[in-house]
């Protein structure tokens, strides 16, 4: 990879870290990193004046994220094609895992408002797992750039 492109990718990784950090802060601020927090956010709480989320409210929240997740995952993962990982099975597994966990993260709130409280665990786990998987991908890319 040409040196100028390598710089562009390196800075993209730094921006990605900021994006992950801001998403963590946002999740913690709006929902909270606990199962009770997730349930309260989606099902509401009269004592805290929290209104139950409707089907449409959730669509409005996830709509920009559906596009942004797809684009961001594709861009980050496609950089791995320029590294030694492009032919490894790990690359395929990582790609499937990131898109699948991203899907669960986006759509698990629907099951929560249907009354399946168990999906609050899934929402929380998928969010944390997604952050870790993207971090791992960023680490693989950073290590490849550093080696060159």
């Amino acid at each position: 990879m040409q040196q100028a492109y390598r710089y562009a990718v390196l800075y993209f990784l730094l921006f990605s870290l900021l994006l992950l950090g801001s998403s963590l802060l946002l999740f913690e601020d709006k929902i909270g990193l606990s199962v009770s927090g997730v349930l309260e956010y989606y099902l509401g709480n009269e004592d805290k004046f929290l209104v139950e989320k409707s089907w449409l409210t959730i669509v409005k929240i996830i709509l920009p994220h559906i596009f942004a997740f797809g684009l961001f995952f594709m861009v980050v993962l496609h950089f791995l094609l320029f590294t030694k990982h492009r032919t490894s099975k790990q690359f395929i597994k990582l790609s499937y895992a990131i898109f699948f966990v991203g899907f669960l993260e986006l759509f698990s709130p629907y099951f929560i408002i249907m009354g399946l409280d168990f999906f609050a665990y899934l929402k929380l786990i998928s969010f944390i797992l997604l952050e870790l998987l993207v971090l791992y991908t960023l680490w693989l890319l950073l290590a490849s750039i550093y080696k060159h």
Partner: protein, 160 residues
Amino acid sequence: MRFTLIKDLKEDMAMKPLLNGLLVFMVLYFIADFFVVNATLGLLGEDIKMTLFGNIDEFIDPMDKSVFLEYLHGQIFFIMMILLTLSTVYARLCSIKRYSIIVINILMISALLSLVTLFVSYFYIPNILGIYVISFFIWHIMAFIMALHSLWNLNFATSI
């Protein structure tokens, strides 16, 4: 990113109009962004301070924490995507390799600095808003010049 692999972009009748379109839209985006930021957050120190922290005398409420985090989160995503695209186009179209690396570094560092200083000034040190304003203007002007330079090279340079 196919344009990074094409040997002579001037001869490529398919890729040249696509890149022209992309660069013109980028120039328009950077101009429009000034107006949008001016209307939402403010462009200069005092305006931004009033939006973020409010003003009791003028009955202006401070910006809510979750609203600020949503704004910052959206900004990070947009900036990272547009600057990655612009940098790769510029690296391909700018003939002097060393010069392009310096320009990309200035662009990216100032953009990162603007986001970090905005975050730090909201939560910890309001006095560094000046650094945010300077870095914001630097990356916008740099990006604007890079897009125009790329457009020039794509259409008027002898070989790219």
